[in-house]
Protein backbone atom coordinates (compact mmCIF):
# COMPACT_ATOMS: atom_id res chain seq x y z
CA UNK A 1 0.00 0.00 0.00
CA UNK A 2 2.75 2.42 0.96
CA UNK A 3 4.50 1.55 -2.26
CA UNK A 4 1.44 2.51 -4.28
CA UNK A 5 1.22 5.87 -2.52
CA UNK A 6 4.87 6.57 -3.28
CA UNK A 7 4.32 5.68 -6.94
CA UNK A 8 1.29 7.96 -7.13
CA UNK A 9 3.19 10.83 -5.54
CA UNK A 10 6.05 10.36 -7.98
CA UNK A 11 3.68 10.34 -10.94
CA UNK A 12 1.92 13.42 -9.57
CA UNK A 13 5.20 15.29 -9.47
CA UNK A 14 6.01 14.21 -13.00
CA UNK A 15 2.56 15.29 -14.14
CA UNK A 16 3.02 18.73 -12.60
CA UNK A 17 6.31 19.03 -14.42
CA UNK A 18 4.60 18.11 -17.69
CA UNK A 19 1.84 20.64 -17.12
CA UNK A 20 4.38 23.36 -16.42
CA UNK A 21 6.18 22.42 -19.63
CA UNK A 22 2.99 22.54 -21.65
CA UNK A 23 2.00 25.94 -20.33
CA UNK A 24 5.36 27.38 -21.22
CA UNK A 25 5.41 25.83 -24.68
CA UNK A 26 4.66 27.95 -27.72
CA UNK A 27 4.86 26.32 -31.14
CA UNK A 28 7.40 27.75 -33.56
CA UNK A 29 6.09 29.63 -36.55
CA UNK A 30 9.34 29.46 -38.50
CA UNK A 31 11.78 26.65 -39.13
CA UNK A 32 14.84 26.76 -36.91
CA UNK A 33 18.35 27.03 -38.36
CA UNK A 34 19.00 23.33 -38.92
CA UNK A 35 15.59 22.70 -40.40
CA UNK A 36 15.93 25.68 -42.73
CA UNK A 37 19.33 24.48 -43.91
CA UNK A 38 17.99 21.03 -44.70
CA UNK A 39 14.91 22.42 -46.45
CA UNK A 40 16.90 24.74 -48.68
CA UNK A 41 19.94 22.68 -49.53
CA UNK A 42 18.71 19.09 -49.79
CA UNK A 43 17.32 19.36 -53.31
CA UNK A 44 20.52 20.78 -54.82
CA UNK A 45 23.13 19.01 -52.73
CA UNK A 46 21.66 15.56 -52.28
CA UNK A 47 18.99 15.34 -54.97
CA UNK A 48 16.48 13.49 -52.80
CA UNK A 49 12.90 14.70 -52.58
CA UNK A 50 12.25 13.09 -49.22
CA UNK A 51 14.19 15.23 -46.76
CA UNK A 52 13.87 12.74 -43.91
CA UNK A 53 15.62 10.13 -46.04
CA UNK A 54 18.38 12.61 -46.88
CA UNK A 55 18.91 13.29 -43.18
CA UNK A 56 18.97 9.64 -42.21
CA UNK A 57 21.20 8.36 -44.99
CA UNK A 58 23.57 11.21 -45.69
CA UNK A 59 23.58 14.05 -43.17
CA UNK A 60 23.34 11.68 -40.23
CA UNK A 61 24.68 8.56 -41.91
CA UNK A 62 26.99 7.63 -39.05
CA UNK A 63 24.04 7.47 -36.66
CA UNK A 64 22.37 5.05 -39.02
CA UNK A 65 25.42 2.80 -39.00
CA UNK A 66 25.29 2.86 -35.22
CA UNK A 67 21.61 2.03 -35.22
CA UNK A 68 22.02 -0.89 -37.58
CA UNK A 69 24.83 -2.14 -35.37
CA UNK A 70 22.59 -1.94 -32.31
CA UNK A 71 19.95 -3.96 -34.13
CA UNK A 72 22.56 -6.51 -35.15
CA UNK A 73 23.70 -6.83 -31.55
CA UNK A 74 20.09 -7.30 -30.43
CA UNK A 75 19.54 -10.04 -32.98
CA UNK A 76 22.77 -11.73 -31.96
CA UNK A 77 21.90 -11.59 -28.25
CA UNK A 78 18.42 -12.99 -28.88
CA UNK A 79 19.94 -15.80 -30.91
CA UNK A 80 22.52 -16.51 -28.22
CA UNK A 81 19.96 -16.50 -25.41
CA UNK A 82 17.65 -18.91 -27.15
CA UNK A 83 20.24 -21.05 -28.88
CA UNK A 84 19.69 -24.01 -26.56
CA UNK A 85 16.54 -24.97 -28.42
CA UNK A 86 18.21 -25.22 -31.79
CA UNK A 87 19.34 -28.82 -31.58
CA UNK A 88 18.57 -30.45 -34.85
CA UNK A 89 15.70 -32.90 -35.25
CA UNK A 90 14.50 -32.48 -31.71
CA UNK A 91 12.58 -29.26 -31.95
CA UNK A 92 8.82 -29.14 -31.59
CA UNK A 93 7.59 -32.66 -31.21
CA UNK A 94 4.11 -31.82 -29.98
CA UNK A 95 1.09 -32.02 -32.22
CA UNK A 96 -0.25 -28.79 -33.60
CA UNK A 97 -3.70 -28.36 -35.06
CA UNK A 98 -3.67 -28.04 -38.82
CA UNK A 99 -3.87 -24.59 -40.29
CA UNK A 100 -6.77 -24.55 -42.68
CA UNK A 101 -6.46 -24.82 -46.41
CA UNK A 102 -7.68 -21.29 -46.92
CA UNK A 103 -4.93 -19.73 -44.82
CA UNK A 104 -2.27 -21.80 -46.58
CA UNK A 105 -3.44 -20.81 -50.05
CA UNK A 106 -3.97 -17.21 -48.99
CA UNK A 107 -0.49 -16.92 -47.54
CA UNK A 108 1.08 -18.34 -50.71
CA UNK A 109 -0.83 -15.66 -52.56
CA UNK A 110 0.04 -12.80 -50.22
CA UNK A 111 3.69 -13.44 -49.35
CA UNK A 112 5.05 -12.47 -52.82
CA UNK A 113 2.89 -9.35 -52.75
CA UNK A 114 4.16 -8.33 -49.31
CA UNK A 115 7.75 -8.91 -50.43
CA UNK A 116 7.09 -6.78 -53.52
CA UNK A 117 5.63 -3.98 -51.40
CA UNK A 118 8.67 -4.13 -49.12
CA UNK A 119 11.00 -3.86 -52.10
CA UNK A 120 8.96 -0.95 -53.48
CA UNK A 121 9.14 0.84 -50.15
CA UNK A 122 12.88 0.58 -49.74
CA UNK A 123 13.84 1.23 -53.33
CA UNK A 124 11.65 4.35 -53.53
CA UNK A 125 12.85 5.62 -50.17
CA UNK A 126 14.13 8.91 -51.59
CA UNK A 127 10.88 9.76 -53.43
CA UNK A 128 8.00 8.54 -51.26
CA UNK A 129 7.55 8.05 -47.52
CA UNK A 130 9.35 4.96 -46.46
CA UNK A 131 12.81 3.59 -46.76
CA UNK A 132 15.08 0.90 -45.50
CA UNK A 133 13.70 0.50 -41.99
CA UNK A 134 10.08 0.39 -43.08
CA UNK A 135 10.84 -1.90 -46.01
CA UNK A 136 12.86 -4.20 -43.80
CA UNK A 137 9.97 -4.46 -41.34
CA UNK A 138 7.58 -5.27 -44.19
CA UNK A 139 9.90 -7.98 -45.53
CA UNK A 140 10.12 -9.45 -42.04
CA UNK A 141 6.30 -9.39 -41.92
CA UNK A 142 6.27 -11.67 -44.96
CA UNK A 143 8.51 -14.11 -43.07
CA UNK A 144 6.13 -13.77 -40.12
CA UNK A 145 3.15 -14.71 -42.29
CA UNK A 146 4.98 -17.85 -43.43
CA UNK A 147 5.77 -18.72 -39.82
CA UNK A 148 2.15 -18.20 -38.77
CA UNK A 149 0.94 -20.49 -41.54
CA UNK A 150 3.37 -23.28 -40.84
CA UNK A 151 5.32 -23.07 -37.57
CA UNK A 152 7.39 -26.12 -38.45
CA UNK A 153 8.68 -24.59 -41.65
CA UNK A 154 12.44 -24.61 -41.78
CA UNK A 155 14.20 -21.40 -42.64
CA UNK A 156 17.79 -21.41 -43.71
CA UNK A 157 19.77 -19.64 -41.00
CA UNK A 158 22.72 -19.55 -43.34
CA UNK A 159 20.84 -17.63 -46.03
CA UNK A 160 19.66 -15.05 -43.51
CA UNK A 161 23.16 -14.66 -42.09
CA UNK A 162 24.69 -14.34 -45.56
CA UNK A 163 22.20 -11.66 -46.67
CA UNK A 164 22.73 -9.81 -43.41
CA UNK A 165 26.51 -9.76 -43.50
CA UNK A 166 26.92 -9.08 -47.22
CA UNK A 167 24.56 -6.11 -47.14
CA UNK A 168 26.28 -4.76 -44.04
CA UNK A 169 29.69 -5.13 -45.69
CA UNK A 170 28.55 -3.39 -48.88
CA UNK A 171 27.06 -0.58 -46.81
CA UNK A 172 30.40 0.13 -45.16
CA UNK A 173 32.29 -0.24 -48.47
CA UNK A 174 30.05 2.34 -50.13
CA UNK A 175 30.65 4.63 -47.18
CA UNK A 176 34.41 4.29 -47.56
CA UNK A 177 34.16 4.87 -51.33
CA UNK A 178 32.49 8.15 -50.51
CA UNK A 179 35.59 9.04 -48.53
CA UNK A 180 37.78 8.61 -51.62
CA UNK A 181 35.62 9.77 -54.52
CA UNK A 182 33.39 12.42 -52.90
CA UNK A 183 33.28 14.73 -49.95
CA UNK A 184 33.46 12.34 -47.05
CA UNK A 185 32.34 9.14 -45.37
CA UNK A 186 28.92 8.04 -46.68
CA UNK A 187 28.70 10.92 -49.14
CA UNK A 188 26.12 9.97 -51.74
CA UNK A 189 27.68 11.79 -54.67
CA UNK A 190 29.83 8.90 -55.82
CA UNK A 191 27.04 8.32 -58.33
CA UNK A 192 25.50 11.12 -60.43
CA UNK A 193 22.75 13.02 -58.66
CA UNK A 194 20.41 12.73 -61.61
CA UNK A 195 17.18 14.50 -62.28
CA UNK A 196 15.13 15.44 -59.22
CA UNK A 197 12.23 13.07 -58.78
CA UNK A 198 13.24 10.16 -60.99
CA UNK A 199 14.09 6.71 -59.67
CA UNK A 200 17.80 6.78 -60.50
CA UNK A 201 18.57 9.99 -58.71
CA UNK A 202 20.01 11.16 -55.42
CA UNK A 203 23.32 9.43 -56.04
CA UNK A 204 23.92 6.41 -53.86
CA UNK A 205 20.89 6.87 -51.61
CA UNK A 206 18.69 4.20 -53.25
CA UNK A 207 21.54 1.69 -53.15
CA UNK A 208 22.40 2.43 -49.52
CA UNK A 209 18.75 2.35 -48.44
CA UNK A 210 18.14 -0.94 -50.25
CA UNK A 211 21.13 -2.43 -48.44
CA UNK A 212 19.81 -1.11 -45.12
CA UNK A 213 16.42 -2.59 -45.96
CA UNK A 214 17.86 -6.02 -46.67
CA UNK A 215 19.96 -5.89 -43.52
CA UNK A 216 17.13 -4.80 -41.25
CA UNK A 217 14.79 -7.37 -42.81
CA UNK A 218 17.35 -10.13 -42.25
CA UNK A 219 17.91 -9.02 -38.66
CA UNK A 220 14.19 -8.98 -37.78
CA UNK A 221 13.72 -12.31 -39.57
CA UNK A 222 16.51 -13.90 -37.62
CA UNK A 223 14.92 -12.67 -34.38
CA UNK A 224 11.56 -14.17 -35.38
CA UNK A 225 13.03 -17.46 -36.55
CA UNK A 226 15.17 -17.81 -33.44
CA UNK A 227 12.19 -17.17 -31.20
CA UNK A 228 9.92 -19.59 -33.01
CA UNK A 229 12.45 -22.40 -33.02
CA UNK A 230 12.79 -22.51 -29.26
CA UNK A 231 11.57 -25.65 -27.63
CA UNK A 232 8.34 -25.71 -25.74
CA UNK A 233 9.18 -25.58 -22.06
Amino acid sequence: MIKRVIVLLFLLGLGLLFIAFMQGYTPDSELNLTGRYYAEHTAQDIGATNIVTAIIVTYRGLDTIGEVTVLFLTAAIVGMLLSRGNRKGKSLQRELPQSGELLTTGSYLLVPLILLLGAYVFINGHLTPGGGFQGGAIVASAILLMLLTDPLRHFSHQLIAIVESISGLLFVIIGVLGLFYAGGFLDNRILPTGELGSLFSAGAIPVIYSLIGLKVGAEFSSMLVNLSETEDS
Partner: protein, 118 residues
Protein backbone atom coordinates in the same frame (compact mmCIF):
# COMPACT_ATOMS: atom_id res chain seq x y z
CA UNK B 1 -3.98 20.41 -32.28
CA UNK B 2 -0.41 20.29 -31.00
CA UNK B 3 -1.68 20.70 -27.45
CA UNK B 4 -4.04 17.72 -27.85
CA UNK B 5 -1.26 15.47 -29.05
CA UNK B 6 1.15 16.60 -26.35
CA UNK B 7 -1.41 16.04 -23.62
CA UNK B 8 -2.11 12.58 -25.04
CA UNK B 9 1.58 11.76 -25.08
CA UNK B 10 2.06 12.89 -21.48
CA UNK B 11 -0.98 10.94 -20.31
CA UNK B 12 0.28 7.83 -22.10
CA UNK B 13 3.69 8.21 -20.45
CA UNK B 14 2.14 8.59 -17.02
CA UNK B 15 -0.17 5.61 -17.53
CA UNK B 16 2.66 3.47 -18.82
CA UNK B 17 4.90 4.36 -15.88
CA UNK B 18 2.08 3.66 -13.43
CA UNK B 19 1.52 0.25 -14.98
CA UNK B 20 5.21 -0.56 -15.01
CA UNK B 21 5.69 0.44 -11.37
CA UNK B 22 2.66 -1.24 -9.84
CA UNK B 23 2.43 -4.55 -11.70
CA UNK B 24 4.21 -7.71 -10.61
CA UNK B 25 4.09 -9.66 -13.84
CA UNK B 26 7.08 -9.11 -16.11
CA UNK B 27 5.01 -9.38 -19.30
CA UNK B 28 2.68 -6.68 -18.05
CA UNK B 29 5.64 -4.45 -17.27
CA UNK B 30 6.85 -4.88 -20.84
CA UNK B 31 3.38 -4.01 -22.19
CA UNK B 32 3.32 -0.86 -20.04
CA UNK B 33 6.76 0.09 -21.32
CA UNK B 34 5.60 -0.18 -24.90
CA UNK B 35 2.66 2.14 -24.12
CA UNK B 36 5.02 4.71 -22.57
CA UNK B 37 7.34 4.36 -25.57
CA UNK B 38 4.51 5.30 -27.91
CA UNK B 39 3.74 8.33 -25.75
CA UNK B 40 7.32 9.61 -26.03
CA UNK B 41 7.24 9.24 -29.81
CA UNK B 42 3.99 11.20 -30.05
CA UNK B 43 5.44 14.09 -28.04
CA UNK B 44 8.54 14.24 -30.23
CA UNK B 45 6.48 14.33 -33.42
CA UNK B 46 4.13 16.95 -31.98
CA UNK B 47 7.07 19.23 -31.12
CA UNK B 48 8.12 19.24 -34.77
CA UNK B 49 4.67 20.10 -36.09
CA UNK B 50 3.80 23.59 -37.28
CA UNK B 51 0.29 24.69 -38.07
CA UNK B 52 -0.70 24.86 -41.71
CA UNK B 53 2.38 23.17 -43.09
CA UNK B 54 2.84 19.84 -44.80
CA UNK B 55 5.13 16.83 -44.87
CA UNK B 56 8.82 17.28 -45.77
CA UNK B 57 8.59 15.54 -49.12
CA UNK B 58 9.06 17.70 -52.20
CA UNK B 59 6.91 16.97 -55.25
CA UNK B 60 4.30 18.79 -57.32
CA UNK B 61 2.46 19.86 -54.18
CA UNK B 62 5.58 21.40 -52.61
CA UNK B 63 8.01 22.90 -55.16
CA UNK B 64 11.66 23.26 -54.18
CA UNK B 65 11.62 27.06 -54.22
CA UNK B 66 9.05 27.46 -51.44
CA UNK B 67 10.15 24.44 -49.45
CA UNK B 68 11.40 26.41 -46.46
CA UNK B 69 8.03 28.14 -46.07
CA UNK B 70 5.84 25.09 -46.61
CA UNK B 71 7.34 22.09 -44.82
CA UNK B 72 7.61 21.15 -41.17
CA UNK B 73 10.77 20.40 -39.26
CA UNK B 74 12.22 17.09 -40.53
CA UNK B 75 14.77 16.53 -37.75
CA UNK B 76 12.39 15.20 -35.04
CA UNK B 77 10.88 12.83 -37.58
CA UNK B 78 14.27 11.33 -38.35
CA UNK B 79 14.88 10.91 -34.61
CA UNK B 80 11.53 9.23 -33.97
CA UNK B 81 11.97 6.91 -36.93
CA UNK B 82 15.13 5.45 -35.49
CA UNK B 83 13.59 5.40 -32.01
CA UNK B 84 10.72 3.20 -33.15
CA UNK B 85 12.99 0.63 -34.79
CA UNK B 86 15.26 0.49 -31.77
CA UNK B 87 12.15 0.20 -29.59
CA UNK B 88 11.16 -2.99 -31.36
CA UNK B 89 14.65 -4.38 -30.82
CA UNK B 90 14.50 -3.55 -27.13
CA UNK B 91 11.06 -5.13 -26.79
CA UNK B 92 12.32 -8.30 -28.42
CA UNK B 93 15.30 -8.38 -26.09
CA UNK B 94 13.12 -7.89 -23.01
CA UNK B 95 10.76 -10.64 -24.15
CA UNK B 96 13.62 -13.03 -24.79
CA UNK B 97 14.97 -12.37 -21.30
CA UNK B 98 11.51 -12.86 -19.81
CA UNK B 99 11.19 -16.19 -21.59
CA UNK B 100 14.61 -17.27 -20.34
CA UNK B 101 13.74 -16.25 -16.78
CA UNK B 102 10.52 -18.22 -16.96
CA UNK B 103 12.44 -21.24 -18.17
CA UNK B 104 14.83 -21.00 -15.19
CA UNK B 105 12.41 -20.19 -12.40
CA UNK B 106 8.99 -21.25 -13.62
CA UNK B 107 7.39 -17.93 -12.74
CA UNK B 108 7.16 -14.39 -14.06
CA UNK B 109 6.32 -12.67 -10.78
CA UNK B 110 9.10 -10.23 -9.94
CA UNK B 111 8.44 -10.42 -6.23
CA UNK B 112 9.60 -14.06 -6.40
CA UNK B 113 13.01 -13.12 -7.77
CA UNK B 114 14.82 -12.40 -4.54
CA UNK B 115 18.50 -12.85 -5.41
CA UNK B 116 19.21 -9.17 -5.90
CA UNK B 117 17.23 -7.89 -2.93
CA UNK B 118 18.99 -6.72 0.14
Amino acid sequence: MVQIAMATGFILILMGLYGALTNHNILRIIVSFSVANTGVNIILVAVGYMHGRTAPILNEAVPVAEAAARIIDPVPQALVLTAIVIGLGITTLMLAFAYKLYERKGTLDISKFSELKW
